[in-house]
Symmetry: C2
Subunit: 672 residues, 2 copies
């Protein structure tokens, strides 16, 4: 088995060797220090990029400049810094290269090198293309700026996906569950295969023309289809929230793009796992296909089960210590990811369903203080991770070493992505409309077609493996697809909405016309205007029987068991001296104000927002208000602020007013 | 220059090599996947440890079990898991070893290995002792659980140190500034040299007896002195806060232990940098000493200046977007660290002074919502990092591969640490008392002597380099010193306080006797009872003239320039319809409620706390209260809660009551 192979060891940054061991130590320390300093400087570049992005976002929000979303902005800054790094900075070539030969039989994970009695340990970083070997020495700096792809998958993606799951608008999500699942599962698979087939055609054509410089198999095409089928919730979410777009459209798009990611991850790993046993590994084989399909189902259900399980398990009763609660919540979310990865499932998918479950059940168990803290923590993590990924994308356009820009492939990909999205949305909508009571109208369909941005997940999947020619070309193309969709489609969302005559309510407009609308926006779900009973009835009418059964089971059994909220609510209601509209809303329907809803997101993203901040004071930010505010508006706003205060006040003062004995419910007393 | 040396390449996890490149890819992918899965499982162990710690802390707090602090607990859990990992789990030896020889001249930072035309990149992980080479294969699992030492220094330590700087009780800190600086600088240097000399004596003795198995130079002894001279703020802070110990003692101990860390870091790196030029590198040389001393001064002042500069620069005006503000604040703190490291200064020290400066100036610029968020974020990061380090310490006792337990050295070290602390506290206190108006009494001195725990910084410094025999023995000994001090001294703090008759007020006791005391504890600094004018007078009396000049300059020029608080306060005061006691306190002295004070820390650490939570409701947690609460107490508490509400309410409702035009101050209006 010990086949002797030629090994050339190329030494970068050769050091002179002293006889004295102490001096040698110092040299090693100096080397480590130098490398550490470089690392710090590299990381500093990204931090500065993020800081710059934040400052500009603020400026944009301040000036109500809505064409460019923060993620698009982060990408632009990334591109600029990438250009500077690539062309502006020249690293002096102080590196002497030593190449030697010896015999080794494989590429182990760990190498031990014995230099004059001292052993040095080396860890495998990855494979390098033959053409890059010289680049290794040339572009030390550029290579340093390039992160380990796994960082995206294991560190940056989880908070984003978790936050997405966490902030799913659950009422509308569940009401449109059937359609969302159809788009996310069936639609993504359809899109994946359509894109895969189209790209295969394109690749065959390229081979004919002689434009192809390496292998490109059908599985590669399918893989490309899988990764570009994952639509991104980020940008659309932000814009729709600002504009208060129709809730059903919002639920459809957001739900689809969140679940989409999960499907795309598992689909792509299933495609990679497709391995026929014969000699020619790129032929069709039924067994291998079935195995891949089985893997898809197994990994998905495993990740789903794990996520839901840990989400439910986060059963905190540490109500008196918000810090401990928040820490525990955070750690449980993270351990979901790690557990799934350790079990061979997909961490990202598990985290998604963990987030959904936590928002549905266990979030209600937290004390109000912890709820604020937890929400804000995940919001911050999501914000940082997201902007980091997008600015890194911009940077990668210039700093990534092995881009392959193939115009034909790129054009083909754009066409395929467009057609793939169309093959997802239009036929499925047609089918779904057969069963739906409130149809998905054609302008909704066009909007969904248009809003299929590609983002963080697509990028993370494509950068994960850039070893082969095919993967490198895919990476370059994917980057361009992301850029195009985020800048063009993301920037044009507002225009597209107006063009499609989709109703969206501007908050300012709404405040002037119908002040009653204010109530649902703050803290309470924006679709809470109609009384709870009619709401429940409409849910019954619209949903499928399977979902209705689940809904009833969940509402009657699961929620009471998994949350302490029932006893809590009954206490609140019985002690409530002020039967105000808001109080009823808030107390009777614990769902609506205990999860992240529109109002909460508005707090940070909207530029015309009316929201409640943590200290209970009433905030109305945004320069639009400054411009258009008449004294009437201000008055109304302030009246509302007062109202809001009273509403919160009742919870506090009420035991005194009623002069009742201290509560028997222990965690309620803790809050007082 | 190309000296041929024998290189043995030891292959762990050899893989069979297929001819087919696709199959080879799969094998590599499988290998990477396997390794990734293992990593996830390892990280999961730590997450589970942290979760367990949090749950037990909660239980302890709930049951008012005060002997063991959470850090001590984390260590115990760490030790238990370490034992299980070491003795409980046997990894099957499925690893075939292949050893080959070839020629290489040095240990470069990057290795390129060419296996059958494919290049694999390897990065230098570190040197391995000759006796560990076999362990590498045996204890893959144990080695995997062992983190890169730099993780502690670059990821876990910064938030802890930043939080410490952030939560320095500034009024008392500045009042005792002279003494704190004396203890931290002079004291640490004295302690370092006393311990170094004693250990050198011990080492010489060991050499005589034949107990020494390797080199141990005088610089090693001094290095040991430097790292064990860093006292830890964590445990003492928590206990003192719970017990509301005398504020001066608290300020002295906390201030010392915070600055201590900075001194110890730079001192140890200066000692490492001490390198005489002659052949015998361990002799005394004046030039090298001067160089070391110059380096100490240079690095310290550089780090100090950088920290202060970035702290001041964080000049946020993004008041309307709490998320952006918090993100910016966080990024600026982090970039301070990175910038310092990239410049060759000490990041930890820069972060410390950045924290102090931010708390003093720029924190006041944040909107109230952002202040809460930022505080809570750093609190959480600090909590997680701290408990992680301490549980890792416990784990390292068993999983670290090259412990050297030398009883004689350990006994010597304990004696030296004790004497070193004594040589720091007693002579310095004697000298300081000559100049101080309120003397440091002898029971305070005993308490300071006793409370010199060693913690995270000592550990991080000692694990940073464990290559040589001397360093390994130091690491083992340091670990034991930390364990002893945290468990014995930390656990005995309450007893020691009673024994030394140092006054500390139990909150419950205090509430029953003097309800007026309630005010200062909640949100406001606990030493705010006396009016501001007398406070300022007393500061003038007690401080040295140099400090007085600085204080006046700071108060009259720096603060007004660097914070917007002046205009903000004037607006508040002019519009304030309710001249209640709390309002005046809060508005006139913006220092006291805008930084982390006792009250805030009580919110999370105390087990009998009365505090204000983020939503403005009034919380009184803790089971002690549940046990002893009479209806009188509850009444008083609720009255207070009402009061508190009104106080917050005034800020909200006041423009309506006054029927004034909208505020002219832009950022104030935003908050409304």
């Amino acid at each position: 088995m010990l086949v002797s192979l030629s090994v050339s060891i190329c030494v970068c940054r050769a050091s002179s060797i002293q006889e004295d061991s102490a001096m040698e130590n110092i040299v090693t320390e100096k080397k480590v220090e130098e490398s550490h300093r470089q690392d710090s400087a590299d990381l500093l570049i990204f931090i500065m990029l993020l800081t710059l992005t934040i400052l500009t976002i603020w400026l944009f929000k301040h000036r109500r400049f809505r064409f460019l979303h923060e993620t698009g902005l982060a990408m632009i800054y990334g591109v600029l810094v990438g250009v500077v790094l690539r062309y502006g900075i020249h690293v002096p070539r102080d590196i002497s290269n030593v190449t030697m030969s010896c015999h080794v039989n494989a590429s182990p994970a760990t190498l031990l090198v014995n230099v004059s009695g001292k052993f040095y340990e080396y860890t495998l970083k990855g494979e390098i293309g033959a053409n890059e070997v010289n680049d290794v020495q040339d572009n030390e700096m550029l290579r340093k700026v390039t992160f380990d792809p796994e960082v995206f998958f294991n560190i940056l993606l989880p908070p984003i996906i978790f936050h997405a799951g966490y902030s799913l608008k659950r009422r509308h999500f569940f009401r449109n569950m059937g359609s969302i699942l159809a788009y996310a599962f069936l639609g993504t698979v359809v899109s994946c295969f359509v894109i895969g087939l189209l790209m295969y055609g394109c690749v065959l054509l390229m081979k004919q023309v002689g434009q192809l410089g390496g292998d490109f198999f059908f599985t590669d095409c399918l893989f490309f289809g899988a990764i570009v089928s994952a639509t991104d919730p980020v940008t659309v979410l932000a814009i729709f929230n600002e504009l208060q777009v129709d809730v059903d459209l919002y639920a459809l798009l957001f739900g689809e793009s969140v679940l989409n990611d999960a499907v795309a991850v598992i689909l792509s790993s299933s495609i990679v796992a497709y391995q026929p046993q014969g000699d020619n590994s790129h032929t069709f084989e039924v067994m291998a296909l079935l195995k891949s399909f089985g893997m898809f189902l197994g990994v998905f259900s495993g990740s789903f089960a794990l996520g839901v399980a840990t989400g439910v398990v986060t059963f905190t009763k540490l109500r008196d210590f918000p810090l401990l609660e928040t820490a525990l919540f955070f750690l449980m979310s993270w351990s979901t990811f790690l557990l799934a990865e350790a079990c061979g499932f997909t961490g990202v998918v598990a985290v998604l369903f963990c987030g959904i479950t936590q928002a549905h059940y266990t979030f209600n168990n937290l004390s109000p203080d912890s709820q604020d803290r937890t929400k804000q923590l995940f919001e911050l993590l999501n914000f940082l991770a997201e902007n980091f990924i997008f600015s890194y994308m911009g940077l990668a356009l210039f700093t990534f070493q092995s881009h392959i820009f193939n115009p034909m492939f790129i054009v083909g990909a754009f066409v395929a992505v467009f057609l793939g999205r169309a093959a997802n949305i239009y036929p499925l909508s047609l089918l779904l409309n057969l069963g739906r009571r409130n149809k998905i109208t054609s302008n909704f369909q066009h909007m969904m077609m248009f809003a299929g941005l590609r983002g963080a997940m697509t990028f993370a999947l494509s950068i994960r493996d850039t070893a082969t020619y095919a993967r490198q070309m895919m990476f370059t193309t994917t980057l361009l697809v992301v850029f195009f969709t985020v800048w063009i489609c993301g920037g044009g969302t507002t225009q597209m909405l107006s063009c499609q005559h989709i109703r969206y309510r501007n908050l300012l407009f709404q405040m002037l016309l119908c002040p009653d609308f204010m109530t649902p926006i703050v803290g309470v779900d924006s679709d809470q205007d109609n009384p709870v009973s009619s709401e429940r009835r409409s849910t019954k009418q619209e949903s499928a029987w399977l979902f209705r059964i689940w809904y009833n089971f969940d509402h009657n059994y699961l929620k009471p068991i998994l949350t302490h909220s029932v006893t809590f609510i009954s206490v609140c209601v019985s002690n409530n001296p002020l039967p105000s509209h808001q109080n009823e809303c808030q107390l009777k329907d614990d769902d609506s104000d205990l999860i992240l809803t529109d109002g909460d997101i508005n707090l940070t993203y909207g530029d015309i927002t009316v929201s409640t901040d943590a200290s209970g004071s009433h905030t109305s930010g945004g320069p639009a208000f400054a411009g258009a505010a008449t004294s009437d508006d201000l008055d109304r706003e302030l009246t509302y602020g007062d109202h809001e205060l009273v509403m919160r006040g009742t919870r506090l003062v009420l035991p005194m007013d009623d002069s009742e004995p201290p509560f028997t419910d222990p965690h309620h007393r803790m809050r007082m």
